[in-house]
């Protein structure tokens, strides 16, 4: 009987040599303040055959992990944690490295993290979108809405503006409009050549006007510029 016990003890020593308990800690931060906020959570290696629950102090122990390379993740309902690459070798301590999901597992990162593992919550999941509500100010701050309002104001105000213009400026404005109209007509009817020629003519005239500008009265120049706008 004693021999069996001895054998068993020997066996347990062997298993001790092959397996390793990975210990770590979730450190509380502003994202996740305590175990109550975290809820039932566990640290799990790969698909969860080796795992350990996270205690009220944030500690976890993943018992009896055999040699190998593992992906450590924290399973929590509300919080996101970094994933880590853990290499359990027959060296005294496992090697812990950061791992970015979706990247190749090999070659491992050159950054070695301290052991025992310390992790903290990256973010708390925000499941909700704020409801969109009707807001008059927001409605009018919309650029499209502003444009529309501007156009409406112009439409209403234009006749009065034209009415109040001095006759000379009005004449000039009408001429300008007629020109624009002819250019548009030309393009619409497909007569590109005529369209271009009318643009050229308009440009020529403009340059002529600007060159003759200084000889004219300052007030009038300003007025004509205003109408061009």
């Amino acid at each position: 009987m004693a021999r069996i016990v001895f054998l068993l003890q020997a066996l347990s020593w062997i298993t001790l040599a092959l397996a390793f308990d990975i210990v770590g800690k979730v450190s509380w931060n502003d994202v996740c303040r305590n175990a109550k906020a975290l809820g039932q959570a566990k640290a799990s290696l790969d698909e969860g055959v080796y795992s350990g629950g996270i205690t009220a102090e944030g500690r976890f122990t993943i018992p009896d992990v055999p040699e190998g390379t593992y992906l450590l993740s924290i399973l929590s309902h509300d919080f996101t944690f970094d994933q880590l690459r853990v290499d359990v070798t027959n060296a005294s301590l496992p090697e812990v490295r950061p791992y970015i999901p979706g990247t190749p597992f090999d070659p491992p990162s050159s950054v070695l993290l301290p052991y025992p593992i310390v992790l903290s919550a990256k973010e708390k999941a925000d499941y909700f979108v704020p409801p969109e509500s009707f807001n008059l100010a927001a409605m009018f701050s919309n650029p499209m809405m502003l444009l529309m309002v501007g156009v409406a104001v112009m439409m209403l105000g234009m006749p009065y503006l034209i009415k109040n213009m001095d006759p000379e400026a009005l004449e000039e404005f009408k001429e300008q409009q007629a020109k624009m109209g002819s250019i548009q007509n030309a393009f619409q009817s497909g007569d590109i050549k005529a369209g271009f020629s009318s643009i050229m003519a308009a440009a020529e005239e403009q340059s002529a006007t600007s060159s003759t500008g200084p000889q004219r009265g300052g007030a009038k120049t300003r007025g004509s510029k205003r109408t061009k706008r």
Partner: protein, 978 residues
């Protein structure tokens, strides 16, 4: 139709993802926070009241592998801890203000929880799970004890190992394993006194058992003595017990030997002599009512009456003055059960519950009281309900049977029929006028309602609650505007034999029925539901009906296939054979096991069953049904799994319709032999549903036609020797392998989850091999998305949904596949389904971190290019391939609900094309609505009637202002223009 699809996808892309608002919580969804049916078989897991400080809580271990604390005031869950399936809870022990649990094979893991909050204080692996000894019952050979005001815990595991650990740090102080390693003596209990720790167990001897006690020094683990108590116990579970009391220094071991009680007091040296107690009666068994630590146990007499045996404060044994008379004498059909519990001062009480077998059966009762009259009794019924009775009245009830639901289906419900007054043809003029005047009295109300609705714009919206505001129980259940209100018919497993009708709008149980055992009621038995079919829908007229196919295993070993036919609205028997207040009786369809059953969706919905000899049975078995069956039978084919000469096969069958009185027989037509050592795990048919578009128009104006062969099904296989898992897609008529993939098995074996809808197959697995080929050598969970298309390239059309399976074109297809890194382990997956199938089908998964989350189909598109997208691809909304699937918390449709252990996700269409109802069940039950392409068929939620009215009135105002101006101007023009 195609336009609509494009529009839907466009809208979904433009408006981003559909997500839930905080104000919608509890309105569009509901969640039942369940704990499972209490395990009352052993006092280690049975529900019990415990006082923590000055608060009383109910603790229980449950069949869903949960340790739960319930509030006795309202029955709410104070906390629960969900254990993994491979880590079964064997018992919980209240130690001071903590709950300590032992779980896993042989009691491998010890956990300690704060009893009030459920915070995990300590988790300690006591031995490797592989070294755990299996025991029946599972709680045998595990125990935890400690002294008051001491941190040290003494734990018995595996029936042979005693460990002492520090209760706060988990540090092991000493370990003792019995010399025989549990092969001869199984220890069942630890008794701790100030002087010694006694490990009490039973040793096998010839024809009977002998009680064995080992006394250990608690501080060092040193053995003081070890001795057999001269005793002969035939049944160690009912004829042996140990009574202790905190104020008594010597615990007493009791046993029954040929009807007499033997007892011995335990001292560290084990020198006390065993003595019999002569009480003049013959006793049959001890019943542990949870009071043995208070020195009380129930003793059954030969005549059926029970007495309480008590350990006095001075260490003497006495039986109670009163006794519970046998039920046989008082009323023959009244059964009874006992329960016990201490009050806040630690005074023990015993309660008896009696019931009539015609009612729901109570099998567990606990009592705690200050006075005998002020008692609370917790009852667990055999149908899985947990009820608290306070002073004779029902205080609350929890339907924990819903935690065991294995089958559930959505059933649409009819609209409310306006009660029209009967119009007779021979109605005279006066009568008609009178009737119309009478009917017109509702008009003012209608007009007022109309105006109010017009002004306020309070219409039904897809985010409003579908539950009726007023109780309509008198008129029965009726659907809401958008068909979000449906009945969920759910059948429970675990042999509880219950069927529930649940209102999908608010989770209320509309009806529930107990499944009758038929002839087996006389011998006992249980019913395991297998399939649930909706045989009559609203569109067929009348009330919808469902058929539940179940297997009945009688206690005498006979197995039958039974069918229950229910009205889905009321739960009443559609065949009108059983009354509404009696158990629902089924029809015995097959005298033997069911091999497979199908719902034939022809002119009439017919359920087809196949027995072991592959004979076809029909339900309903009418001549009309037979004719329909005979007409379509040649086009039917189905696969079955068999094994021939150690090799597993999938064999396709067709049905030969019999002309005579014999039953039609199915015969094999093809067989697919799997490689040696590969086993079939599951056969899954393709999810049926309407297909809105048969092709996909690409950015370059070519079309990919979907491969929509209706006979496809998925086979999941496992090859443990090679540690590989197989996924096959087969044609059930010919056995053609349309798709085959092999993935690596993990340490838990093959756990591939798959779903196949239209031409889209997805499967989920764990890629454990570092740099395992796909998804850029990442390690983790994978979701593989495969899409099948007709022909070998674009614009090839084979009409795969219609062609004969014998056409060569059935194998003329190609497919695209892509593998994605998936963020979680999942327990179930399904795709959304909508009324016409126009809306994009999103993937709904139940993850292992207790979420239900949707994943966009666009992200799972296997045609996502590995480079920058071209303009044409952008037109199709293709995004550059990224191995990592976006994990957006806004897509967690279960938001902060903890939906644990979901085993299945079911989706059903609502009346709104854009919206799909989703049900997840397992331990919890969760229902919500999802709109994968947003609610494109109703006004958007940010549509605002006020805004519209504002704009229109603004325009109106502008017209009113400008109108006179324009008039004046035109008048002036008329005057001044020449």
């Amino acid at each position: 139709m195609r336009f609509l699809t494009t529009a839907a996808s466009l809208i979904s892309f433009c408006l981003g993802t559909w997500a839930i608002h905080e104000s919608d919580v509890g309105v569009v969804d509901w969640h039942k926070h369940l704990v499972g049916v209490p395990l009352y078989g052993s006092t280690a897991t049975a529900p019990a009241f415990h006082f923590i400080g000055n608060r009383s809580l109910i603790f229980s271990g449950t069949s869903s592998n949960v340790i739960a604390a319930l509030d006795p005031i309202n029955g709410s869950v104070v906390w629960r801890y969900v254990f993994d399936a491979e880590d079964p809870v064997t018992g919980y022990y209240k130690i001071e203000d903590t709950i300590t649990t032992i779980s896993g094979p042989g009691g491998a893991t010890l956990r300690s929880f704060d009893a009030l909050t459920g915070n995990l204080l300590l988790e300690k692996r006591l031995h490797k799970p592989e070294l755990g000894a299996l025991s029946t019952p599972i709680s045998l050979g595990k125990h935890v004890t400690s002294l008051p005001n001491s941190k040290d815990l003494y734990i018995l595991t595996n029936g042979c190992t005693v460990t002492s650990i520090d209760g706060t740090t988990g540090e092991v102080k000493w370990t003792w394993t019995s010399p025989d390693q549990g092969s001869l003596i199984i220890h069942s209990k630890l008794i701790l006194t100030h002087d010694a720790l006694f490990a009490v167990g039973i040793a096998k001897s010839t024809a009977s058992y002998t009680i064995h006690v080992t006394s250990i020094l608690p501080s060092t683990g040193e053995i003081i003595n070890s001795a057999n108590i001269p005793s002969k116990v035939e049944d160690p579970f009912t004829e042996f017990t140990v009574l202790t009391r905190s104020d008594v220094s010597k615990p007493v071991v009791l046993w029954l030997e040929k009807g007499t009680i033997g007892h011995v007091a335990l001292t560290p040296t084990l020198k006390e002599k065993a003595k019999p107690i002569i009480m003049g009666d013959v006793f049959r068994k001890f019943t542990d009512i949870g009071l043995i630590d208070y020195g009380q146990v129930l003793l059954l007499k030969e005549d059926g009456s029970n007495v309480v045996l008590k350990l006095d404060a001075d260490g003497r044994l006495a039986n109670s003055k009163w006794e519970f008379e046998a039920s046989l004498i008082s009323a023959p059909d009244v059964a009874h059960t006992f329960g016990g519990g201490p009050d806040s001062q630690g005074n023990p009480y015993v309660a008896r519950v009696r019931w009539s077998p015609n009612l729901d059966i109570a099998v567990d009762a606990e009592s705690t009281s200050d006075l005998a009259i002020d008692s609370r009794i917790l009852v667990t019924t055999s149908t899985g309900a947990v009820q608290l009775w306070d002073r004779g009245g029902l205080k609350w009830s929890r339907e924990e049977a819903l935690a065991t639901v294995t089958l559930a289906e959505f059933v649409e419900i009819p609209e409310r029929v306006a009660s029209a007054s009967p119009v007779t043809a021979s109605e005279g003029f006066v009568a008609r006028v009178a009737r119309q005047i009478l009917e017109a009295r509702d008009f003012p109300q209608y007009a007022v309602n109309f105006v109010r609705r017009f002004i306020t714009g309070s219409y039904a919206s897809p985010t409003s609650s579908a539950a009726p505001t007023t109780s309509t129980s008198a008129q029965g259940i009726s659907r809401d505007t958008f068909g979000f209100r449906q009945i969920i018919v759910a059948a429970t497993g675990l042999g509880l034999g219950r069927v529930y009708g649940i209102d999908s709008s608010n989770g209320d149980i509309v009806w529930s029925r107990t499944l009758g055992l038929g002839w087996a009621a006389a011998v006992g038995g249980h019913i395991q539901p297998l399939k649930l079919y909706v045989t009559k829908t609203v569109s067929d007229g009348g009330d919808p009906e469902v058929v539940l196919v179940a297997q009945r295993r009688a206690d005498n070993g006979l197995l039958d296939t039974v069918l229950f036919h229910l009205n889905a609205l009321t739960g009443s028997d559609a065949t009108r054979r059983s009354k509404d207040d009696a158990p629902l009786e089924g029809h015995d369809v097959i005298q033997g096991p069911l091999v497979e059953s199908f719902l034939l969706n022809a002119e009439q919905k017919i359920v087809i069953f196949f027995d072991e000899y592959l004979q076809a049975y029909l339900y309903p078995d009418t001549s009309e049904a037979k004719e329909i069956f005979a007409a379509v039978a040649p086009t039917l084919s189905f696969p079955l799994r068999t094994s021939v000469e150690d090799r597993k096969r999938v064999i396709g069958h067709q049905i030969a319709v019999s002309k005579g009185h014999h039953k039609s027989l199915a015969h094999p037509t093809w067989s697919l032999a799997l490689p040696p050592g590969e086993e079939v795990q599951m056969l899954l048919p393709r999810v049926r549903g309407p297909v809105a578009s048969i092709g996909k128009v690409l950015g370059n104006r070519t079309t990919l036609y979907k491969y929509l062969n209706p006979r496809l099904f998925t086979v999941l296989t496992a090859a443990p020797a090679r540690s590989m898992c197989g996924i096959y897609v087969l044609d059930s008529m010919k056995g053609t392998v349309v798709y085959h993939a092999e993935v690596k098995a993990n340490l838990r074996g093959c756990n591939v989850k798959t779903s196949f809808v239209e031409n889209w197959l997805v499967y989920h697995y764990f890629e454990g091999e570092v740099a395992g080929g796909t998804a850029g050598g990442a390690k983790g969970y994978r979701m593989v998305s495969v899409e099948f298309y007709e022909g070998q390239k674009v614009d090839e059309k084979t009409k795969s949904s219609e062609i004969s399976s014998f056409s060569n074109d059935t194998i003329n297809y190609h497919y695209y596949e892509k593998s994605f890194v998936f963020p979680y382990d999942i327990s179930a997956l399904a795709t959304t389904s909508t009324k016409f199938g126009i809306t994009t089908k999103d993937l709904i998964v139940a993850t292992k971190n207790h979420r239900v989350q949707s994943f966009s189909r666009h992200m799972l598109n296997p045609r996502r290019p590995n480079r920058k997208t071209t303009a044409e691809e952008q037109e199709e909304y293709l995004v550059t391939y990224d191995p990592l699937l976006p994990n957006d918390p806004k897509r967690v449709i279960s938001h902060h609900y903890d939906v644990a252990k979901a085993v299945k996700v079911v989706s059903a269409p609502a009346l709104l094309e854009s919206t799909s109802l989703v049900l997840a069940f397992g331990l919890d039950m969760f229902v919500t609505r999802v709109a994968p392409s947003n609610t494109f068929d109703v006004l958007s939620e940010n549509f605002n009637k006020a805004q519209l009215v504002f704009t229109i009135s603004g325009l109106l105002l502008a017209i009113l202002i400008t109108r006179p101006m324009v008039k004046r101007k035109s008048l002036r023009e008329k005057w001044y223009t020449s």
